[in-house]
Each structure stands twice: as C-alpha cells, then as structure tokens.
Symmetry: C3
Subunit: 321 residues, 3 copies
C-alpha cells in the first residue's frame, strides 16, 4: 500500500490537490476492488462487514442527486449507518443563525465518524475541518472545491486509457465557472506530458489562475474556439454544461455555446480510441444519440463515483481509532 | 409457486394490469407470510437476512407519506438498504434540466437493485423502465398508474372476504380523477361475476374508458347518485376523497359530494358482512365515528400495503442475479 | 434497576414531568453505559445487536438538526431501522388535510415500534399517543414540551456536578418563551434544596405559572436583571437564545438582552467549579471565546443528548413485545 505513509492527510477530504499520484494510485486500486466485489451478492455481504458500527452524517445545503446518493450508497455498502438532511439550509440550525463551526462541534459529540457535506459558500468545508476531529468530506463548497469529483474523473481516465500522463485532453463548455474543469486541469498538471485544449467562447474561457498554474507546472495548454480541430487529436474529451444556476447576470452566457455540441458530426472527427467524459447532469451539449457510441463513458464515469467514494470512505474510516 | 413461470414480468412494477390472477395469488400468499413473520422479533430478524446487501433508491417527486414510508419500511424489514429523497423535484438533477432517462441511467451504474419512484407526470415510470436494468417500481406517476395501491386493495378484499369474484362493489367519491378507483375497477374485471356500482355526482362520475373496459370484460356496472340504495347490497364499499390538489379549476367540484358520507346512517343500511375500504388520507367522506365499526377496514388496508410491498420487493429482488 | 417498577409509564415519552427521580437515575446509569460502549468499535458492534429488527419512524414537522439527528443516530446505534421525513408539514398527508390521529393510526399498522416526532402545535404529541400502541416520543410540540431536552439537561448537571439537589442554578435569556428553561425549572423542583435565579429583562422574565409551581414545591427562586450578582454564587449557568422565530411581534424583544452575554467579564465572576450549559444553537449570548473555558459544557451537553436518547429508546423498545 504505497499511500500508507501519507494516510494522515486523509483525516479530511477537502481538496483534490491534497492527493499525491501515489495516494491516487492506492485509491484507484481500492476502487477497482470495490467494483469487483460489487458484482456478486455474496461479496457484497462481506463488504457490509467492513465498517459496521460506524456512522456518517450527510449534510447537504444545496441540491444534489449524484454526489449525495453515491456517498450514501457507498457508506451503506460498507456497513456504515447514514443519518442526514438533503435540505440543510432550511432544516438545520443554520436557519436559526448557527455558525458552521458550532454545527460541526456538536456533530463531533455525537459518536459519528464522518461528515460528508455540500455547502453554498466556498471555504465552509475548510472551516468545518478546522474544528473537527471526525472526518470532513467536502462534497462541493460553492464555487470552491469538489475533490471527490476530480478523483473519480482521474480514475475513469486511468481505468479507460491505462495512464494519466502523455494525454491530449480537450475540455469544453463553461470553463470559466466549471469547478470540475478547474480541478481536473490542476490534477493533470501533476502528471508529465499532458496537453490540454480549452474549447469555449471567449467569455467562458478558462481563468487566468489555471493558466498560470499549468505554466508553473510545465503543462502545455491552448485555448481555441475551433472544437473540431481540438477533437481531432484528443485522447480525452471532457465536456461540461452551462451552470446557469450559478450565474446572476442578465447577459445570455449561452451565446456561442450552441456550437460546442458533441453530436454525430463531432464523433466523426474524434479518434476511435478517445473517450468522452462529462460530470453530468448534461443538457444539450452532448446529444442523446452519442450515448450509444462506445467512446461515450460518462455514465460509466458516474458509476465510478460510487467506487471511488467507497475507497475514500474506507480510508477515512481506517484512520479512526 | 404458480406465479413462477411469469416471473420475468416482475422485472419492473409499472401497472396493476401486468399481474395475472395467478401472480396475484402468489403475491398474496407471500404477503400473508410476511404479516405472520412480522409478529415476533425473532422471525423479524430472520426476514432481515433475506436481501442483505441489496439497495433500493427511493425517489419521490411528489409528497407521499404512506407509499414512501411503507416501501422504505418494507425494504428495511427485508434487509435492503435505502437511500433516497422525498423532494426529488427540488433536490435532484431534475432541477438542473436532466431528463428522467439520464437520471435512471446513472442510477443503473450505482450498484443498486431497485428504484421506487413517484413522479408528477404520467408515463415517467415507463420511460424510466425503458432504460433501466434495475427494477423500476411505480409508486404513482401523476394521473397515470399506482399499481401497488391496486394490489393492496385487492389483497385486502381477498383477505377479508376470502374471494375476488362474485362481489358487489360500491365505489364512491371523486371517480373522475381517482387513480385508485380506475385501477381497482379494471382489476376486478379480471375476475368473474363482479358487479360495480359507481356512486357520485354526474360531474365526478367514472370516465367512459373505464365503462368501455368493463363492458368488454363482461363486468356489470351501474352509475347512480343514490348512495343508500347502492350500499344496501354491497360486499365491498370503496370510498375516496376529493383530490383537490389535482384540480385546476375555479368551479367547486365538491358540490353534491357532501351527500356521500359514510356515517352512522350509511352504516345502518350496509350489510353486516360488508367491508369499508379507503385508500387514505380521508377528509370528511368517512366520519370518524365509523372507525370503531367492525366493518371499517381502511387502517388494516393501509397496513396491508406494507406486506404487499414486501412481497413485491421480494419478487423483484429474487429476479436479480 | 430501580426504575423497572415504573416502566409502564415509558410506553410513550410525552413530558419531562412523567419521570420520577428514580426513573431518571436509572436512565442516567444507562446513558453512562451507552457513552462508555460508544468509545470502541467492538462494543459499538455489540450494541448494534440490541434492537435489531425494530423500526423507528421519524416525523419532523419543524426544522431540527440536533434533536432529529441525535434520535436517528441513537436508533441506528441500537440497530433500529429508521424511516422518516424532515419536512412532514409539506411532504406528508398533513398537506392533504389528514388529522394527526389518522396519520398515527396508519403508522400503527406498519409494523414499527416507535414514532419520534416534532410538531408545530402544542398537544399534538398527546393526541398522537392517545391513539397509538407504538411508542410516541415527543421531540418538541410547538410551545409545549420537549422532554428529552429536559432529561439531557438534568443528566449533564448530574454528570458534571455529581448531584441534582442543593444547587444554585442561574437561568438567563428569553425565559418567557424558552421551552427548555420552563421544563428544567419544573424538574429541578423535584429535588430538594435547589435555588433558581432568573436573569432577564422584565419583558422576557419567567412566567407566573412556573413561579407558582416552584412556590408549591418549596423551591426558592429570585428574579433579577443583575447578571453578575447572580453568576457570583452559581453552580449551574443555563443560558438560552432569543427564539426570534417563535415571535410574531413588531416590538424588538432583544432590547436589553445585549447585557446578558457570557463573555470574559462574566467568566471572571463565575465560581471556578460552576458549569455553563446552553440548549444550542446559540447566537451571541455566549461569546465564542467562552468555548475554551473548562466550565463551558454546552457541546458536551449536546453530545449527552445522544446517550440519553439511546437510553430512552432502549426503554421504550424493551416495553415492546
């Protein structure tokens, strides 16, 4: 277990960047194992014994299906009891003016082992971890981090292509606001030889801090509005949706995005060995007809989220006394 | 097990009419068994082993106490883990514009075994099933089907009266909009010798398609506004509430319905061997004083929903590899 | 087990006053035991066997983190399955006009063992219990009772100071509306030699019925606006927040309350052996800097809620056949 020595970092899961390539390799091996054991009911029952007696709290201050469900399923499969709220903003003490710190301090007294949470404001997961002995797992903090999504994105690339280096990665959509593209770009910079093409309208291109980060880590990148040219040499296509719910502007930011749709025409220029990923949910930026193409891996990617989260939960639980 | 040969139909539970009388007889025997084992804590613990390691997702896009609770209790009693949302309309990817198909495709990747769902729109359960390998269980799709309610209604009649044929069934209330009366009427047409009396105001009488269906299946029926006359020969009284939340009209549809109340006067003309059912919740169409009458079986009927759903869940789980 | 003889009272948990000092002593011993066994995963797994096969329904018609979470965690730790809603007002049959009695009668048919509930209206828990064979546990009924909070408050005093008699207890904040201070005052009157100082503005002082109750039970009390004088001789400081969400007035009831803050100055006059309690959540009436003072026990107190609720749940479950 090459990640054993750094396991102390796993007390909390706050940022994708906290994971070294070695730690990720260890987590990926575990996720493989959990996917394997999930295929038969007998081994599922064995896995149920892993963390019997542990409890995870699930506190979601913002809507989520995928993240909350996959965390709660992951916990349930590991034998971990789950108690939670899907509407913490309205149904928790937050509505009575309690600070996130007080909320977390109380949970630390409740004999539970982990707190998976999605918050509206950036930095809330860090603030929670600062006062918490139980594991805080960041399931997305506003415009901030969403580390488990980044880990499952990397896992899917590794699973499908066998490597995380020397890749031609094309990222498209709302790059300016997409938490997942920002995070994945930084993670890819940890591996040598990757090249990233950012495809979007000028208004929604990737921000300067990411470009600076890539430059500092010797990772090539290019910005373009020519989707077809970018797709032609791609190993990985990472497509995203316009997160309209995060915009508070009268301007129609979707102008121009209608050109960036993965459809039959786009599939024609894409290499046969490439894979297409998307953090989901999607709107129209990937046509439904693409689903039947063997290169479409976004539903597989979503399912990988379950096994990656099982691995992450297993790690933070092992770290408990 | 006479229903074994048709078990493939049980991959999904979408419509009451998918069940043949033989399949229903098998399910009813199972429900009897689950009610029996539920009486002692020792046998409850045995039942808990039945489907340990399985997981059911519970997705409710519309309010529900009875259906959601009884499904989740049924799953819990069978050892099935439950993860879900009671407010899918707001707290799922639906709010981000995801189609029901995409949502269900993702759940198919999460290592779960069944999806019980209530949706706002008719046909959503069918659309879900069309893309799903995991069992889809329709817990009500708008004005469409509510198959588990129909099965538990039939089960209660069989349990209380010993047969499902040759019955005089009186149905009253909002017949035009009631999903349960429509479904029960069609199911009763599968058994010989039943006669149905529909009691309501002309505006809220049973619709033409049901009458046509009954005629095609040689099932006698009559429409009347004379409740007392109908009650006089009844074996089964199936009473329903005005579903005001499903109406978008300024017209007061309750006019005339105040005459159709099962109270002390109604009980006087009702045969002593008859039973009174209601899908609940009730408003004023059954007086509270009726509850203590031995013919009032609507709370028992609600409880039967638990055991019928245990049987149905057991069947779809057995169908899993 | 000195409380055994009175165990029949434990069919429901409706009011703090239903518990005699002997019963409380028994519950406290159990809570101690549950806290102890919660320290190691091996003994946690043993406790999980205690009530396997039992099910608790959790019906919350009003927001709650602490009470709902601690009840659901308590149940989970005892092996009791949990099914529930955090938003019963909107997502239950209440929205369709069902009475609390009908709702509870249906739950009594569902093969469950307890119903923990928080309601908006005073008296709803009593109405539920009146028609229920399964245990009804009042998790707060509007302005009425919140018995498990009162029991955990007493438990914390006993745990920290070793006794429940001969105490100088200072209660401050919104005494007129605080459910917890009213309840704790009445409970302290069951033990000899206690003296209570009520610190508040005249508008928010403790109500006449409580003063009458204390007088009838020979319990000394005083009302004052001089917080420092009261703190000087305190064994227990019980501080509370302005429950602004329960007020429907244009008058600013917070006027004057800014003088009643437990901060560094207040800590200076407080005896070194005193303890500071608060039902939480807090706003500004206890400064954050107080948290690090060894006399601050309010987070411990919250955690005690878990173990007290485990003891209470264990009792009502033992009472089941």
């Amino acid at each position: 277990m090459p990640y054993k020595e750094e396991v102390v970092i796993m007390q909390h899961i706050l940022s994708a960047e906290q994971f070294s390539p070695d730690q990720l390799a260890g987590l990926f091996a575990q996720a493989d194992g959990f996917r394997e054991t999930d295929q038969a009911i007998a081994s599922r029952r064995d896995v149920l014994q892993t963390h019997t007696g542990r409890i995870m709290l699930s506190m979601f201050y913002e809507p989520s299906t995928r993240t909350r469900f996959s965390f709660e399923i992951a916990a349930t499969k590991l034998g971990i009891g789950v108690v939670g709220t899907e509407n913490a903003a309205e149904f928790s003490s937050a509505a009575k003016g309690e600070t996130i710190e007080d909320t977390v301090k109380v949970f630390n007294e409740y004999g539970v082992d982990a707190l998976s949470m999605r918050t509206k404001e950036e930095g809330h997961a860090d603030r929670a971890a600062a006062v918490s002995k139980i594991a805080v797992i960041n399931g997305g903090d506003g415009k901030g981090e969403h580390p488990t999504q980044a880990v499952l994105d990397l896992y899917t690339i590794k699973e499908q292509l066998g490597r995380l280096d020397g890749l031609n990665v094309v990222m498209g959509g709302d790059l300016a606001h997409g938490r997942t593209v920002r995070s994945l770009a930084k993670m890819l910079a940890k591996y040598p030889g990757n090249k990233i093409s950012f495809v979007s309208t000028p208004e929604l291109q990737i921000s300067e801090d990411i470009k600076l980060h890539l430059a500092e880590h010797d990772t090539d990148f290019a910005e373009t509005t020519d989707m077809y040219e970018a797709l032609r040499g791609a190993d990985v296509v990472y497509w995203t949706r316009l997160q309209l719910e995060r915009h508070r502007t009268d301007k129609d930011i979707s102008v121009g995005q209608e050109h960036f749709v993965i459809d039959a025409t786009a599939l024609e220029v894409l290499p046969s060995t490439a894979i297409i990923l998307h953090p989901l949910p999607r709107n129209k930026e990937i046509s439904a007809s693409t689903d039947s193409d063997p290169r479409a891996k976004y539903f597989r990617q979503a399912g990988n989220g379950l096994y990656v989260r099982m691995a992450l939960l297993d790690q933070v639980m092992k770290n408990r006394t």
